[in-house]
Subunit: 450 residues, 2 copies
Amino acid sequence: MTDTERPDAGARDTAPGDHANHSHTRTDACAPAASARTVAEQLAIVLASVAPLSPVRVELDAARGLVLAEDVLTVTDTPPFDNSAMDGYAVIRSDLLSASPQNPITLPVIADLAAGTAENPRLLPGQVARIMTGAPIPDGADAVVPIEDTDQGIERVAIVRAPGAAAHVRRAGEDAHAGDRVLRAGSVLWPTRVAAAASAGTSSVLVHPAPRVAVISTGSELVTPGSPTRRGQIPDSNSFLLSAAVAEAGGIAVRIGAVPDDDDVLRALLAELAGSVDVIVLSGGVSVGAYDVVKAVLKPLGTVDFGPVKMQPGKPQGFGRWPATEQAAGPLIFALPGNPVSAYVSFEVFVRPALQRLLGRPILHRRTVTATVVDGWRSPPGRAQYMPVIVTNRTDGTENGTRTEARPASRGGSGSHLVAGLAQASGLAIVPEDATHIRGGDVITVMLTS
Amino acid sequence: MTDTERPDAGARDTAPGDHANHSHTRTDACAPAASARTVAEQLAIVLASVAPLSPVRVELDAARGLVLAEDVLTVTDTPPFDNSAMDGYAVIRSDLLSASPQNPITLPVIADLAAGTAENPRLLPGQVARIMTGAPIPDGADAVVPIEDTDQGIERVAIVRAPGAAAHVRRAGEDAHAGDRVLRAGSVLWPTRVAAAASAGTSSVLVHPAPRVAVISTGSELVTPGSPTRRGQIPDSNSFLLSAAVAEAGGIAVRIGAVPDDDDVLRALLAELAGSVDVIVLSGGVSVGAYDVVKAVLKPLGTVDFGPVKMQPGKPQGFGRWPATEQAAGPLIFALPGNPVSAYVSFEVFVRPALQRLLGRPILHRRTVTATVVDGWRSPPGRAQYMPVIVTNRTDGTENGTRTEARPASRGGSGSHLVAGLAQASGLAIVPEDATHIRGGDVITVMLTS
């Protein structure tokens, strides 16, 4: 089921006891269970299970944003032949040493060399060839006179300025020699790097592929948005939230949508998906309810851990793998809480860094800034809190100009206007475990999410 | 043809005279032509021609990153019915005021309400119903006792704690009332905003669509990367560079690749594309050469301007529109220089902001930082210079911890290792028009590009 509690309603975020054993222990919402892990410990467990996906070769058109799994070497010298850096005339410099506006030197034009030409007319002393930018320098020529220093003649040309030595000649291999490394394994393929691979004469590159990520919401109350709802039903929003977040993080989202609280249905779906995706992200069904379908299906596998994490929201967290087959390891499984804020925070804190590692990216984490708190709030002791905040830059009257401010995205407490408030947040303020009151004027670390 | 000059080879970056009129005027590379515009003037001309694309309705799955062209209102109250925020028992609070661990109160359980149920059994005094998170509160009940405060009984349940008034009941409309605005027109659809629209009961949204952008390299010397090259030929890299940059900016790139320096071929291609794309980005063929095909085809239209811009690189810039038909305005046309660094800088400075405006995004420009220069360089007077730089953060020993540093991405001058150097740059340092020497220790503004 979807855990639709308020993210700050700590009592719901209790350590998930095993419902089947009818434990009657009351877990204080504000004190983590002895076995609870810190966020850092949980993240270390997640990242220790994740390595860049096995490299595949892709065409350059599909390579943007992916990470190289090989060095890219130039196929030929770059440029591959001496060529003109200007539109003008290829010349023998010694013919023109005395040229000046007062004393133009007029010479016969024996060829017209456009870019792309394969022609290579040999210049004899006293001859020139018209040449366009990028065209190969003909044998015998040793400099280029720019068009502006001539009368632009077609059959004969008057030249009014002596060229410098090797003027406007781009030498073969000037940018790179054949076999030079132009890109390193591990580089993220920004547009300029895609271009560098193209320029090196490469049509495809070996990269870590984007992970395919199935996204499933669980809960018999969930219907597709826009469908009519009867009493008891609400629209599924988590599969949209998490699919969009997967895509933004560089993954390929396979949005399955909502499935009912039915163990057999979920088990069959996961088994079917296991062969075709790298990651499965579930939300809902991980708490203490009678119909916590995700726990019911995954716990017996023995490969998914449901240890609580000392964070708020997001305390119940399932992480592991679908069982391996003889052919392949099973996909990673993240079982997130069903509350949208809890699911989103859990995604940002655990799933997104894992996706970055699957992609082979060197930077796993979002950028953080320090910000001054505007309106304070409370935080549970013993748990790191992630508070959705609106981050603004405000002129502060000092010479430095601006200060960065953070205020909770939901007015009137983080419980009300929950999804609408989250939608305005541009960051998550990170409250350390030991803090209980965040006050206006406090300086806090904020993970920027947009 | 591709303008393959060095980006710092100022002499090539002369004001593009009309070759056909055989102007013999020598234009000093370091002094802009009288008619040259500043970067700000050129950008103002570009942006004045660009408005957000006409809205279209898209499914939520296709909406991420696009900008809303309508307010999104909730279809029903959110939540649409009173529901439980906890797994536990729906109760009549007045039955339980004296409950305590020492004095449990045991009551009959008349129903088991799962999330998604449409059941609504009316509680009479002394009765309770088992209820899961998200399930509707039955008529008569006015509070929820969490499972932890009970013996989890199925037919009868012992309750050890009195609930507070309306405890753990989420009220219908608590987050939003039907008709409330949850998202504003003009909002960028981040993942959490896609989720807010879903949660509001919306399956599709009215957005400004992503612009379709055709990308064409011109130059008879260009071949597809990976194809064998003969003397005179080089791989096309600009169409890969600019297509990837378009995609990164949020556009839909239609990479046409390289076309030869043939007026008829280019004219026919542009005419064919005009009906199916919003923007055409060309590179090469905008300078003073005899085969400057882009200028030759576009200038006679009268709708594309080739005014020089006081910048380096990127001085020759074509901007305008393909002629309108009775049905529609023609696509925007950007004719960029062919040198890869010039093309990239021109894209970042003019094309990318235009694409952001077509998308309806509120922020048109890249983030800038101030950085301390490590290795200096020279800049032409009278022209704003955009120098590809590597930006790093370095501990500086002060309390603030780090300082941001910028060094030219190409060692040994910006001409050598041109494409490979550009591929390492993470920003463009912006040198003002009047500066001629940038020295180590200078503080400079850098546009961050990755």
